[in-house]
Amino acid sequence: MNIIVCMKQTFDTEERIVLENGKIKEDGVKFVINPYDEYAVEEAIRLKEQHGGQVTVITLGPSRAEEALRTALAMGADEGVIIDDPSLFGDEYTAARVLAAAVQKFPYDIILCGNQAVDDGSGQVAVRLAELLGIPHIGTITKLEVAGGKVTAHRDAEGDVEVVEGTLPVLVTAQQGLNEPRYPSLIGIRKANKKSLTRFTAADLGVDAGAVRARTEIVETFLPQPKTGGRILEGDLADQVKELVRALRTEEKVL
């Protein structure tokens, strides 16, 4: 089975966001595989373990994203592909067009992606990619079974579970709960560090950067008003409870 995973490197979710000249500061930040993409990587490796085949991991991003690719390789993916050509960095429209061009360079039966990235949180690129490739998708899955060209997935639909069926080729997007990603083994890490990665530029992909230019534009990035911390209630517990309920009703008017 030929399995492709598209993934993104993101800030660790425990990182704070700091702005410098209106841009998000990256110095000293810990980067990880986007947690939702990590579920996709894990599921891809499990599919390979079950059915045989090959897992190719593709990322679009700056050269620092190489580290995330190596982590995926250390987990058990076979090949890593990085598109680190800055002329191809844009919005979700751009990313999907570029990834579609890259994916088409490889054979695939199934494509796995995270359902969204924890940075931009748009949840667009994977679904767009399926549409551009002309294959169906099943979004936000928490369970996946592939047997004899047939796919059965559990889709998380706002708490309800839809049992969705389809056939290969298909693209699925991983939701939390799909699996528990493994830690790379020491041997895995050593092997991964020696592997050579495939690098694609706009020319390699035959993509005209102007033609995939972002449709959207960020006008401003800003931080929320810092919270100062409120009132810690004091006194007898019964009085605290009474006072809280009173304040919520008469001052905050949220009840």
Partner: protein, 326 residues
């Protein structure tokens, strides 16, 4: 400038969800006299069309088909594709919900258009529509505009101001055949397992009662559910509680998980890891109940009670019961 809008009505359990009215309010405000139409898709949904006019719809396209009872990407996208070509909207609005999140990017790709997801505000600035949306789950925000092409946007529930319905205002209702051929559907739903424990959806809830590691067990969520029931609230959880197996991941609130902005968020036994705070700190009023006075959750809370949740939560439930009965 007159703009035409097409809004996909977001339905749950056979009803129009509030977020649809919130979107219609914004569409009406920004249309500059352009037509605001609604796409109403589902099985037996025609009865819902009438009510949409009062919230700002000029026209409602009703598409009924048993194949539209549940969301299937191929079925919904083929209908919407046709409606977009018919209505030629400048802006396509959907809810940032299980359906809209999945459907909007599919259509945006098909129409070679940009999309802005999870919008919490939209305004007109210098002739452009400018959308505000959270990034890093609300640790920061961006304002986004479109350079070219049709606008696709998904809107987060509970954020755009609700508008009062204008009684007597009506929309033209047009019934459109679905033209879905079952052969063209590449995926199908074999079964829907209803797991939502309360009737209240987390992302649209006005009040959320949420539990963390301090809840200690699946059973420990019981007092939280009791409080939620009295308040008509949804129950959520921190990643710690989900990872420990106390509850389902579908309840998780945080940077991984759901991002929520209710009017009232009651955090019980949640210490307040950065990744959790990202998912809830933009709630209007936050109450924290925690044994540890140093817990970071108190830094974002409007009200804090330092104490054992198993003691405090039942007392709160009783007090709310008493006060709400008055």
């Amino acid at each position: 400038m007159a703009r035409k809008f097409l809004v996909l009505a977001d339905l749950r359990n056979g009803n129009v969800r509030n977020v649809t009215y919130e979107i219609l309010g914004a569409a009406r405000r920004l249309s500059g006299g352009g037509e605001v139409s609604v796409a109403l898709l589902g099985k037996d949904v025609a009865r819902l069309a009438e009510g949409l006019g009062a919230y700002g719809a000029d026209k409602v396209y009703v598409v009924e088909d048993a194949q539209l009872e549940n969301y299937i990407p191929d079925a919904y996208s083929s209908v919407l594709d046709r409606l977009i070509r018919t209505a030629e909207p400048d802006v396509v609005f959907m809810a940032h919900s299980a359906v809209g999140r999945d459907l909007a990017p599919k259509l945006a790709a098909r129409f070679e258009a940009g999309q802005v997801s999870d919008v919490i505000d939209v305004a007109e600035e210098g002739g452009d529509l400018v959308f505000t949306r959270p990034i890093y789950a609300g640790k920061a925000f961006t304002k986004v505009k479109f350079r070219e092409g049709r606008v696709f946007a998904t809107v987060r529930p509970n954020n755009l101001p609700a508008v009062e319905p204008e009684s007597g205002r009506t929309a033209a209702v047009e019934t459109v055949p679905s033209q879905i051929s079952a052969d063209a559907l590449r995926t199908f739903i074999r079964e829907v397992v209803k797991k939502s424990t309360s009737g209240v959806d987390l992302t649209e809830a006005k009040i959320i009662v949420s539990g963390g590691r301090g809840v200690k067990s699946a059973d420990g969520f019981k007092p939280l559910y009791e409080l939620a029931e009295v308040l008509g609230a949804a129950v959520g959880a921190s990643r710690g509680a989900c990872d420990a197996g106390y509850c389902d991941y579908s309840l998780q609130i945080g940077q991984t998980g759901k991002v929520v902005t209710p009017d009232l968020y009651i955090a019980c036994g949640i210490s307040g890891a950065i990744q959790h705070l990202a998912g809830m700190s933009n709630s209007k009023v936050i109450v924290a109940i925690n044994k540890d006075p140093e817990a970071p959750i108190f830094k974002v809370a409007n009200y804090g009670i330092v104490g054992d949740l198993f003691e405090v939560v039942p007392m709160l439930t009783e007090e709310f019961k008493k006060v709400l009965a008055e």
